[in-house]
Amino acid sequence: MTRAARLLAILLVAAVVFPWIAGPYALSVATLILYFAYTSQAWNVMMGFAGQLSLGHALYVGIGAYAAGALYYHLGIGPWAGLPLAIAVAALAGVIIGWLAFRFGVAGVYFALLTIAFAEFTRIGFDHMAWTGGPGGMFLPVAERDHIDLLHFRGPPALYYYAMLALTAGALALCARLLDSRAGYYWRAIRDNEDAAQALGVHVFRWKLLAVAISAGMTAISGVFFAFYYNNLFPEQIFSTGRSIEIILGSVIGGVGTLFGPILGAAALTLLSEAVTAALAALGWEVPGAKQVVYGVVLLGVVVFLPHGIWPPLAHRLGIRR
């Protein structure tokens, strides 16, 4: 067993036993960490592996959430049927956007802005769609919380925690496999030098499209989770550019293109955010905006002083290669 595998195993065991020792607040924070870790990992496939900067990933969260949510709300069909639908619709959306962008040579900053435009366009579209509740939101019927109903993904908070833990662990394993697969090598070649990759015969268009489809499909799963965890969906919240930034933050802080970076980054940021809230409350200084200012300053500090994120230097210190 390598050092990395040992550390990972310890972490996983700790995460599995966590709900037995944690209170409800700690459990909700941990669920949030895993949610951001997973979603950021999904974004990382597109940006960190294949080098395609998406600033509109909230689009896929929203599509996933609304696809599964609407199915449940209108037809009473549970999330297990909603899940594949959500993945399919989001992956299709990703492929359409990617097809348009890559076919017409929209790259770099322009591609990033295109992803924002699609997310904003969809947000306003959902604002005007009465079938999903419009700006007033869609509220899923909330069932009882004390017994576990796996079929409808209803149960106590620990159920959601374990679901998110399984997703995060699964995504980590999937990404590790992907990175060492043929696709992973092609992606990294495209990321580092697209022209050179093309000259070597890599079908750049196809592999980029695959990265977008996988990333979008993975992101849609967090949307389904979001819908059934929070039970309410507002276009203003779920599709907003602020949400897209939140998704990216974990990877950027942890380390873009690394496997463990998104998880570490999500944990660091979520804990920081909670700590700042608690500290400001303890100081009796609960001015709106104060928390975000502190958050912004820390973010600025990390971006300026740790250009590759916190995981690469930490991994080096721990003696782990990647």
Partner: protein, 289 residues
């Protein structure tokens, strides 16, 4: 719906669009030269709007007079921001630059929220409710003045880039960063100057806009997106494109507000952005990237 109403709405759209255009011009100039997308652009403009409302509340200074001190302060602010924070990021990957400016925007907007709260602020001057009448067509005085100021500022900037040595040097940097360094231009200083000029544009646009809209901290991210839409439609890095893009967006938003529904107006803008990005990614007036 009468014809006069449509004409009035279109005219108001053109005039507001020119002010939007000046804001976008700042973004375009910064991107065209420094090649960094300023994701804190709307946030900076919101600061300028607050500065104008504060100067009005304290000293009853007309926003059109506040333009001078605010734009000078913003030039200095922009210069410092580029020299101190962004210059080291020029060689970093795009997502890194993006996060840097997002962090700046986050700090700025929430500092405003802490200082002034979420409530809208505005200025009241006596000519705000007056208008020029041309038959059945009404033109708001404040809107006309604001548009005039925007055009004058844009012309001044255009002249600066055409005529002065510094302006030419900045254009040289934009054309070929490496060659500019070879001939001995201080590229980093010129970048800082450019960001200062872009920020000054934003300051002028912000002061003018306080006469047309109420200011809240939440305007920041909205105006950042609006500036992007305008600049992409017009062509990133093209000065004329920014103004024309501003007018185009101003008119289309005004018409969409009238014909469809006010809340759908920005959907039209984003739709336009998507079409332009795909069909003509360099924008209407941009050179091929």
């Amino acid at each position: 719906m009468s014809f006069d109403l449509v004409v009035n709405v279109v005219l108001a759209g053109i005039l507001t669009g020119l002010v939007y255009g000046l804001m976008a011009l700042g973004l375009s100039v910064i991107f065209g030269v420094v090649r960094v997308v300023n994701f804190a652009h709307g946030e900076l403009m919101t600061v300028a709007m607050y500065a104008a409302t504060l100067l009005f509340a304290r000293f009853e200074l007309d926003p059109f007079l506040a333009v001078l001190p605010v734009s000078i302060a913003f030039f200095a602010l922009g210069y410092a921001l580029q020299a101190g924070l962004i210059n080291p990021f020029i060689t970093r990957p795009e997502h890194s630059q993006f996060m840097l400016l997002v962090a700046v925007g986050l700090i700025v907007i929430n500092a405003l929220l802490m200082a002034f709260g979420p409530d809208a602020r505005s200025v009241q001057v006596d000519y705000q409710l007056e208008s020029f009448e041309l038959g059945d067509i009404l033109v708001d005085k404040a809107r006309l003045y604001a548009a005039g100021l925007a055009v004058l500022t844009a012309l001044a900037l255009f002249g600066f880039f055409r005529v002065t040595r510094t302006g030419k040097a900045i254009r040289a940097c934009a054309d070929n960063h490496f060659a500019a360094q070879v001939v001995g231009l201080n590229v980093k200083r010129l970048y800082a100057l450019t960001f200062g000029l872009g920020a000054a544009c934003v300051a002028v646009a912000g002061c003018a806009l306080t006469l047309l809209v109420d200011v809240t901290p939440s305007l920041g991210p909205q105006y950042t997106l609006l500036a992007f839409v305008i600049v992409i439609v017009g062509g990133l890095g093209s000065m004329l494109g920014a103004l024309v893009g501003g007018v185009l967006i101003g008119v289309s938003e005004a018409l969409a507000g009238l014909l469809i529904s006010p809340s759908a107006k920005s959907m039209l803008s984003f739709g336009l952005l998507i079409v332009v990005l795909i069909v003509r990614p360099q924008g209407l007036f941009g050179r091929k990237p």
